[in-house]
Symmetry: C2
Subunit: 421 residues, 2 copies
Amino acid sequence: MTKIIIIGGGFAGINLAEKLGNKEGLSVTLVDRNNYNFFPPLLYQVATGYLEASNISYPFRKLLRKMKNISFRQGEFERVIPAENKIVLSTGELQYDCLVFATGAETNYFGMENVKQHAKPMKTINDALELRNHFFQQLEKATLVEDDQARNKLLTVVIAGGGPTGVEVSGMLAEMKKYVIPKDYPELTGHGYESHIYLVDGGTKVLAPMSEKSQEETYKDLTEMGVEIKFNMQVKDYINDTVYFANGETIQTETLVWAAGVTASVFEGIPAKSYGRGRRLLVNEYNQVQDLPNVYAIGDTCLQLTDKNFPEGHPQVAQVAMQQGKNLARNFVAMGKGDPLKPFAYADKGSLAIIGRNKAVADLPKPNIHLGGFIAWVIWVFVHIASLINYRNRLRTMYNWTGAYFTRDQSLRMIIRPSKK
Amino acid sequence: MTKIIIIGGGFAGINLAEKLGNKEGLSVTLVDRNNYNFFPPLLYQVATGYLEASNISYPFRKLLRKMKNISFRQGEFERVIPAENKIVLSTGELQYDCLVFATGAETNYFGMENVKQHAKPMKTINDALELRNHFFQQLEKATLVEDDQARNKLLTVVIAGGGPTGVEVSGMLAEMKKYVIPKDYPELTGHGYESHIYLVDGGTKVLAPMSEKSQEETYKDLTEMGVEIKFNMQVKDYINDTVYFANGETIQTETLVWAAGVTASVFEGIPAKSYGRGRRLLVNEYNQVQDLPNVYAIGDTCLQLTDKNFPEGHPQVAQVAMQQGKNLARNFVAMGKGDPLKPFAYADKGSLAIIGRNKAVADLPKPNIHLGGFIAWVIWVFVHIASLINYRNRLRTMYNWTGAYFTRDQSLRMIIRPSKK
């Protein structure tokens, strides 16, 4: 019986685990710091109150229930001892025959400690719920403030990072500003009331990985919706409710949403030479970590330079993670039977980003076309619903979206914090 | 324009506010510490993962949107200065013509400080979510513990209080133990595995306010489901994971759910002589606080001895709160027109408590009958769905319940804590 341990149950880890389900000769333990899987592409909707956390998350134990050879263990990785084939978690030690790192990526603060302390990240369910609590508390506070300047500071949001996450959050906030706030916060309308949604990026474009057409359309649509996009604005610091930029400019705000970059994790016990750019683990065409033949890495945390279409490595996106997970599963099964292994080659199915109600951009590689507006939005909705992990999540999400679509409104704005003693 | 301030947006406050909506000559401010209303009778379902918090809660601003004479203000009561018709909140000061206390009741720890520090209450949404997190963390911890005694302590739950809340929580836990845990926590089945659900009460019956038939049926059903009910067991202390009882017995557990009593709040600025039993504000037949003619109290926080059918005061239940709220609204409107006021008389429509899937007990006063089993459960479902405050909550709850009913399962067991920095 080959014992496989997978650290991380995101796109990569869960696809790997599911494809190993009920396969002979393989015993799998999936480890994750949370007891649930969640769907990151829709986090920004949890953060702005359009979806509930439970619409996009699902307990691992339920997911893996029917797979008798897979068990779940909640815990955090502490270190690995490759010479002993042993891994140490916060919840105990485990032996392995094969170890797979599928830990994804974490928020990158680029060494800026104040930003790390005070900005709002958007990488986990807890991040998204805290951001939601924060937004709605800011609104309540603003209704009580008389001084125009103080109130407008409460109503200003700076989103750092012009990639898909930043675009999506700013689009949703613009929708809320236009449709929800006038109806429910009458104290915030009228003279003297001013709010700003700034989307800032150190570069010169939004959605840098996408096509030029997608970038232009996104810029135009967001601007029309009221988002103020500022380029060549690299954040240098965030102190006393002021964001400082490299070019000397500043913006006053109590809300800096940090979507400006990710970095992989380092693992105690893995030698320094195993890491490449962005702290990603260097792997061969079979996702084996170099010099550690029974240690593997898949998804955002790995850097694979063997794919001829992507000689500098793959983008850190969901599709790559899912495909690498499935390919590795196929290879584990093949190993057991003495069959040949399959090197990984990423099949780019395209990119999507949503801008607002009815608006999205899509780049489809074959044929090489760009779609925008309503048709792209329909594709976006379809792809995201289909990708949610469970029929219940799909139904609940459809329900919430249908309501939000027709009423241009949302209702998930309760400020809630479970009170741990 | 008569300015009315309502402190508290629960059953009493929200019914009062809604009946004052768009009434001429009245300007209303509703104050609550949360920005949402929630439905306490279903909290125990949030606590056990069968419903999401958003199924039973709704933002005040959305609720009151169409009522132009009603505004919402988030804040906590600090003190009142009756001589100046002024109230001080955590978020500022307000003047009033009429003040209404609709603050409900809070958990009563009977002076036991250790219980207050370490037991799990069940009075608010945050309580329920924290209890849910706790239950599922206990299960994960238990899967990793080798020692039988230590593991069984993790799997033991003591619920203090044999009223409806205690009965409902223990019934749900028994359902989970029977149907959910064997499927998803295979590590917890088999030899050496022992878990206990204790329902303890200082008295000699469950559901003391209900009929004898309801009490007997509930006792029988819960026991058959595996709940161990112990009477004459009054909690004296809770230290080092041990519950101490007045009769000298002890039970080892990391989970003491405290549903053993409620108490009203005291309000700084209201004289001591205005309070009666249970710290409830003494009011006349129009819900006016004695000696403070423009201060009122409704719901759990008041004690009204003028109702001939309830000379010792009303039970602290939802129906009383709702009816007092509506009656006071009627009287405020009448006052404006110089019409006669209506003294309050409670119309008892009956009591319901749910025991488990398919099982409930109902006491209907006219005619004086008791119902049990499936028919009572149908009534319970109907009443609770109808009472949820908004069509969306009703639909979502129906959806979650339908799934849970047919699959004997639930999926809302993600351990989530928004991470406030």
